[in-house]
Symmetry: C2
């Protein structure tokens, strides 16, 4: 089997060793005579998996004891609603920075729940940059400031985070665990797993424990953060296989040397691609402005539609998968999450250089 | 490897052939050079999986064109809230039949949303039976009547369904696809996958299309059935691996001869166990009354706590897993979902007979 060079935006590449391990033990998990999928979520065997995923994530991200780690379902899209349902109350205002259509969606859902305010936005400039921290204008009575730490569609990323008086909330779906961050700065972090953490089907929420008091008991039980905190995310049947895969991916991150080592490699991968783009005499153009470039999603355009199409077709023939830009913006995008290795980026750069040469 | 006899209440046994197939193609799905978990949910390869799961479920359950099939997350527990959020409006009453602590939970969540009414209940009799259809008393302005078609904790099951004027809604988490049912009779059916459909992490909803008009646009997008209907359950990233496993389980059901053949075998399995219980001169006692017995979850007690404990310990040594009753009621429970084969039930009966003999 020839493994594809997988640049999908999510679900995306998983470490080969993780997949092999899952394959090996798929029929018989730790001599139970059952697949991990067949274990009761109340069994001690599954509990160890669940616990390991929480413990390892705490260790790798250096999550302080002030914060709880929860496993939910529904992806970031459900968090767009759960955040205001739990944390935005009468007389308060949810503050949002718009940096992509995902943050736009988060705002749209919050509007259904309570009062909102756009604290900063690069929408007018096609989301080509992250607004300057000094340009963020909070409303009065801000319940929180919501940001999207990495923007998969625009290909931008926050490289420093605002020091705000209010609660800072981040959708980190597309860059969690890709770089060292100071979790203490955040009131709440959420992330769908399907980019850096595992397969789709599990959502990680890291919440400062004092915020749990803000959730009203009148909320639907499954939409109340307290439910997950009080039950160790075992109130009802969790997505056990997805959490098992998460635990394996976390073990892999640890084997790689932890988040510090992962970050170093991610920066090298991104530099390789951006250099190729910047040195192409304008044949490839990065969508994101220099100070805001993402090292997870490298978005770029070619001179015209026809060349873009040809590029994508030939890339696919070369085994380079998932390079089309998001359907809402077009162009190209290379998503180079943690599990995409340096070699894949080298192959892509080699292809980009040859493609340019061939059509010039 | 010796395969366990898995009587877990859910997550539970999966067909061995399904697990083997998943194992085989885990690293390379249909020559894509990727795991099915690594495919984009917008790729044609994943789309075929998604479509196959929907089409096969429609075929196997004989779902009429008047009904839509949706894939959600959050389990039945989230449906406890979504049902009233979407379908219970001002001036209407949600009607519930209480047959287990699960239906009790469904009622509890509905109370947070609107007016409710208990149309029938066997709570006073420790849920030992399903109330008689003639004893169901609907309220005025009933939005729907909610039932739990099979009750995992009490071990009871509806063997005929009420013909009601209002919308009939059923939580079928623990007996969907176990027997032929007339879907047309139901306004809405929901089921967490982890008993008869696949691993945990995906929830199936079958909804009569005219009901979609009842969902208000002010609902959170992810909690509105319309969102799933309009996007073929691809509004955001679905739990792709869980849906893939669902598609394999559905293929397996088809290979077995469809739901009719599965039902026949399920009835034989249940008969084997209930006969053993009934012929034990009161050593084993079924919790559920005869007319209400479930052929998915066989609940029974032994003469005392000490014997129960001994029974469970020795069963486990014999490779019989998951036989403890639900933590809320104690006793024993054998969950014999579709993937538990006849042979496993024979082994259990043999064990039960010998155990009784040894301690008598």
């Amino acid at each position: 089997m020839k493994r594809a060079y997988n640049f999908n935006a999510g679900p995306s590449s998983l470490p080969l060793s993780v997949l092999k391990r899952a394959q090996e033990e798929l029929l018989n998990f730790q001599n139970t005579g059952m697949s991990v999928m067949e274990l009761s979520h109340r069994s001690k065997e599954y509990d160890a998996v669940h616990n390991r995923a929480q413990t390892l994530l705490r260790k790798l991200m250096n999550v302080p004891e002030t914060h709880d780690i929860l496993f939910l379902q529904g992806g970031a899209s459900l968090q767009f609603s759960m955040v205001p349902m739990n944390l935005l109350h009468e007389g308060e205002v949810g503050n949002y920075v718009l940096t992509d259509s995902w943050s736009d969606k988060a705002l749209k859902e919050a509007k259904k729940v309570g009062k909102t305010h756009v604290a900063a936005s690069s929408k007018e400039d096609r989301y080509k940059y992250i607004p300057k921290i000094d340009d963020i204008r909070l409303s009065d009575h801000a319940a929180y400031l919501h940001i999207t730490s990495n923007n998969t569609i625009a290909g931008t990323q926050w490289h420093e985070f605002p020091n705000v008086v209010t609660n800072l909330i981040a959708d980190m779906s597309s860059d969690i665990l890709s770089r060292e961050i100071d979790v203490e700065k955040f009131a709440l972090i959420y992330a769908g797993a399907q980019k850096n953490l595992g397969p789709s089907g599990v959502t990680v929420v890291i919440i400062r424990k004092d915020l749990l008091e803000k959730s009203s008991d009148s909320l639907p039980t499954m939409l109340n953060y307290k439910t997950y905190s009080e039950s160790r995310s075992l109130y009802n049947t969790p997505p056990t296989f997805a959490i098992y895969m998460l635990s394996l991916v976390l073990e892999w991150v640890e084997e790689q040397g932890g988040v510090k080592a992962i970050e170093k490699r991610n920066r090298e991968k991104a530099a390789l691609l951006y250099n190729c783009i910047d040195e192409s005499d304008g044949f490839y153009r990065a969508h994101a402005e220099k100070g805001s470039r993402s090292f997870m999603n490298v978005t770029f355009t070619l001179p015209n539609e026809e060349l873009t199409k040809k590029f994508l077709t030939e890339a696919k023939e070369r085994g380079l998968i998932g390079l089309a830009g998001h359907r809402s913006v077009g162009g190209c995008r290379a998503s180079i999450y943690n599990a995409v290795d340096y070699e894949a980026c080298e192959v892509l750069v080699d292809f980009m250089q040859k493609f340019k040469k061939n059509v010039s």
